[in-house]
Every structure is written in C-alpha cells, then in structure tokens.
C-alpha cells in the first residue's frame, strides 16, 4: 500500500466532483429540511412549525405500517438472494468456456430498465394470459396478484429475486475466482472434506465481497420504487405499499410538502443508520 503525499492543492482535482454532487445533494436536502420544519397554505407563504411534521410522521399509523412492510420485504429478499447467489456461484465451474456465457446470461436482468422489469412481471403474472399466472391457476393454485395480498407479495419477491440475485452471483463468483489454486491443492493434500473447504477457505475469503453484496442489496431493496409500483402499484389496497411508494404518493401525489419532507429525512436517516450497523457488524472481525 503506497503512502499518500499530503497536498492541499488536490482539492482542485476534487472540485468538479464536489460541485456536481453537492448541487444535487446539498441543495435539495436543504429544501427538504426547510419544508420539514415549515407549514404552507399556498401562495409561497410559510410558517415555522418546528418538529410538528416529524412528530406527525413518527406517530402516524400509515408510516409505521409502510416501515414494517419495508423491513419485512428487505428481510425476506436478503434471506433468499444472498444464500442463493452464493450457492449458484459455488456451483459454477472455476474455469472454462461456459463461465462467461453463463455470467452474461445471468447479468441480463441487471440491465433492464426497472419499469420494464415491473412490466414484464406484471404481464407474466396476469392470471389468465400470463405464463406464470395461467400456469399457477392451471395447477389448481388460486392466484390473482391484483386481488390477493399474499399473491402480490409473492410476485413482488419473485421479481426481486429474478432481478437482483445475479448481482450476488457476480460478486460472489468474483470473490471465489480470487482464491489461488494453491489453497484448494493444500486442502486436497490435507484431506479436507467439501464442507471444510467451504467453511475454512471459501467463506473466509469471500467475506469482503459478501459484505458489499449484503450492503448493496439491503440499501437497494430498502429504496425500491419503480419495479414495485409498476408490477403491483402498491396494491391490492396498500398491501405492497413500501416506503418509497408511500413517500412518492405523499410528495408528488398529494403535494404535502411538510410531511413528505419530514418523512424523507427520517427515511434517509434510517437507511444510513442501518447501513452503518450492517457495515460495522460485518467488518468487525476484520479488525481483529
């Protein structure tokens, strides 16, 4: 690790980045903070209200329900995608002509615009003419995601798994490829079982990549908007209204600036906090 030279003039190199990102981050956030502590009755007249909006949001049943739905959703999605992604990466050959073909095919969902992802799953889940919907109903399972909350959840989760597991696979596979052959050779000579190889060689060496995978999936699933709204629209009713969907409803739908702003700040803070917790827990051992 080469040492870095102290050089304050480096700020000039960083300046364009700072300007562009600050423009997009700081200015809007200032607006949000501004709105979150004020009340308006239109005509650009504002009254300072202090923490009224924050209290309203934090006590609102609607917010609690959205938050619970979101937490449940993220938990399920992480619990499926991470082990599945790792399992697929482990099952793939370490070398060979099929590897790049497989990776390219698997990467396709990652590059489809999110609304198209939602549209695809909406279409495929239609009970009478969609591949999935029709097949399930033909098998005798009563399935209609526009009417049954459980079906809507199942569709949403299936879509997320379809969409994002490949990211975990790509990351895990890269982590696995970085393990030198000598470790596997030594394990063979030591007579280690397949499980021991996984537990003592592969898993420890994948730790860093897995941390990144879990963090990314946590953050992105917590922020999910477009795919979810296109496929179920937040329904039936509000059974699949996750946090982002609820926020956009309040902000852009109802133009309730105050509550929307307060909710935005709380939302952002929750993500930062949970990300920090995840990150600390997962990298805690590395420091030892």
């Amino acid at each position: 690790m080469s040492t870095k030279v102290p050089n304050q003039k480096a700020w000039w190199l960083v300046l364009p980045v700072v300007v562009l990102v600050a423009f997009n981050a700081v200015l809007p956030l200032m607006t949000v903070v501004n709105y979150s502590v004020q009340e308006t009755f239109g005509e650009n007249v504002f009254f300072f209200e202090g923490v009224k909006w924050f209290e309203q949001i934090l006590h609102s049943k609607r917010f609690h329900e959205s938050l619970q739905r979101q937490l449940l959703y993220t938990a399920i999605v992480l619990a499926i995608e991470v082990p599945l992604g790792v399992a697929i990466a482990l099952a793939m050959p370490r070398r060979g002509p099929w590897v790049s073909v497989c990776l390219v095919l698997m990467a396709m969902p990652l590059l489809i615009p999110w609304n198209v992802v939602g549209a695809m799953w909406n279409i495929i889940a239609l009970p009478d003419i969609g591949l999935l919907g029709r097949s399930l109903n033909a098998l005798g399972i009563e399935y209609n995601f526009t009417r049954q909350p459980v079906a809507a959840w199942a569709t949403l989760i299936a879509m997320d798994v379809w969409h994002w597991t490949s990211l975990v696979v790509l990351l895990a596979y890269a982590g696995l490829s970085a393990i030198p052959d000598a470790y596997y050779q030594a394990a063979k000579i030591d007579g280690a079982s397949r499980w021991a190889v996984f537990r003592f060689i592969q898993l420890p060496k994948m730790r860093r990549v897995l941390t990144i995978a879990v963090l990314l999936r946590f953050m992105d699933s917590f922020m999910i908007y477009t795919e979810a709204i296109v496929v179920t629209g937040g329904g039936p009713g509000n059974s699949t209204t996750l946090l982002s969907i609820d926020l956009v409803k309040i902000a852009l739908g109802q133009f309730d600036l105050g509550p929307a702003a307060a909710m935005s700040l709380i939302y952002f803070l929750i993500i930062l906090l949970l990300s920090w917790v995840f990150y600390t827990v997962m990298t805690r051992d590395e420091a030892n």
Partner: protein, 266 residues
C-alpha cells in the same frame, strides 16, 4: 451430488430467461391473440408492434432521449471522477476521508426522497424537461460510484509510474492523459459500464424531470398502459427493445465484469 452441481446454475438461467422469452413472445403477437388465447409461441406472427415503434416518433424518440441522457451522464460522471479519484488515490488533503465517505452516502440516497426537491430545483433553474437535467441528476449517485471504482483501479497502479513521469519532465495533465489513463483503461471501462447501467435503468428521477421534449421511453410505456387501454403487444415490443442496449454493453464488457467485481468495488 457433485455430478449435478451444474443443475443449479442451469435452472437459474432458465428462470432468468423465461420472462424475457415471454416478453419477446408477446411482442410478436397481435393484441387479439394475446387477449384471446394462451399460446407459448406466436401463432399469428406479426411485426406490427415493432413497426409501430420504429415509425411513430412518440415511441422512437423515447429511446433516443433515454440514450442521450445516459451517454451524457456517463461522459460527465467518468470525466469528473477521473481527477478526483486520482486525488483520493495519491494525495492526503484536509477532509479527504470525510469527503470520500460523504460521496458514498449519496449512493444510499433513496431517489424517492429527491423526486420532489429535484423537480423544484431543476424547474427553478429552467432545466426542466431537458436531457441535461436527467444527466445531471443521475450524477448524484453515479459520480460517487465512478470515483469509488476508479480509485480502486488507480490504487493498483504503483506511484513509481507517476514519479518517473514527473522526473522525466512531464507536466501533470500530459502525464495524466498520455500515460496514466491508458494504464487504467479497463478501470475506466468498468466505471463507464456501471454508470451506463445505473443511469439506463433508473426511472423515477428521469420521469420526474421530464415531460415531453426529453421524455424517456419509460414514460411513453406507462402512458400506453394507462390511456390507450392495454396494448400489450406494443408494450412488450417496447420493453424488448430496451433490453438490446443492455445486452450489447454486457457483451462488450464481459471480460471486464469479473475484474471490476473482483475489486469488490461495486
């Protein structure tokens, strides 16, 4: 059990390809066939849906608009990220760690939080409904990502390279352009790929900041679904066409995907 370890990736790939196949399937069917019967492949094969898209400006402009702002954003993001990543990689300066961390937190920003503020901000400066607006807005999360990826690649280049060039009398920018950039070419490729990817797929902000002139294909598609009834075939064709740029890009960077991920920097 060892024998069948290929089964899992195989089944997963089938799972991945199935909805894509279904989309293609529908895109070649007439609306009558779609709504009237359930067929696994088009019995009345038709190219009408695609024809409509290629001839109707409201449709193909959507694609052009999307590609425009995505390319703009990729170019901007990578260009400004390069010197910044170099600074983070080579120098220590006041607040550098905090700055880097702050940049990364922007990746964690929910687009939903920024939807309304962006709408107001970009309207206020008169950039509403332009490609530039979306390109700029996407910088919020793409620039930190590009800086992060490039910094990783740059740290892999030994400082001796820089020092030798300076001793040889290269002025900084000439060294940067002629020597350094070719060395991290694959890193630039990876960063550009991810910028392209995240800008191409993100649609909440793209829709919020545009209305007619710079309308991305996503907005056109949603309009079809709601206003003119359910023209599923057309919708499917439009969707299928959005997959193509992505497939192209993956194909070209397939060798670098593993490398970029291997740095663990996504």
């Amino acid at each position: 059990m060892r024998r069948f370890h290929w089964l899992l990736p195989f089944v997963f790939i089938l799972f991945v390809l199935a909805p894509i196949y279904w989309l293609l399937n529908m895109s070649f069917k007439t609306t009558n066939e779609i709504l009237g019967s359930f067929t696994l492949w088009p019995h009345q094969f038709t190219l009408d849906n695609y024809r409509k898209i290629f001839t109707d400006p409201t449709w193909y402009n959507g694609y052009l608009n999307s590609i425009a702002y995505v390319l703009m954003n990729t170019v901007i993001s990578v260009t400004v990220a390069l010197p910044a990543a170099y600074a983070f990689s080579r120098y220590r300066f006041l607040g550098d760690k905090h700055l880097f961390f702050w940049l990364l937190t922007n990746r964690m920003a929910p687009p939903a939080v920024f939807a309304l503020p962006f709408f107001q901000l970009y309207s206020a400066i008169g950039l509403f409904d332009t490609h530039f607006a979306v390109a700029l807005a996407h910088c919020l999360f793409n620039i930190p990502l590009a800086v992060w990826i490039l910094e990783g690649f740059m740290s892999g280049v030994p400082k001796e390279l820089d020092e030798t060039a300076f001793v040889d009398g290269y002025p900084f920018w000439r060294f940067f352009a002629r020597i350094f950039i070719p060395t991290i070419a694959s890193g630039i490729g990876v960063a550009a790929f991810f910028c392209f990817m995240f800008s191409w797929v993100e649609l909440l902000l793209a829709k919020t900041l545009t209305s007619v002139a710079a309308k991305p294909i996503a907005a056109t598609m949603t309009r079809t679904a709601s206003t003119s009834g359910y023209e599923l075939g057309l919708l499917a064709a439009a969707g299928a066409l959005t997959i193509i740029p992505g497939a192209f890009v993956i194909y070209f960077v397939r060798n670098y995907i593993a490398k970029g991920f291997a740095l663990g920097r996504v």
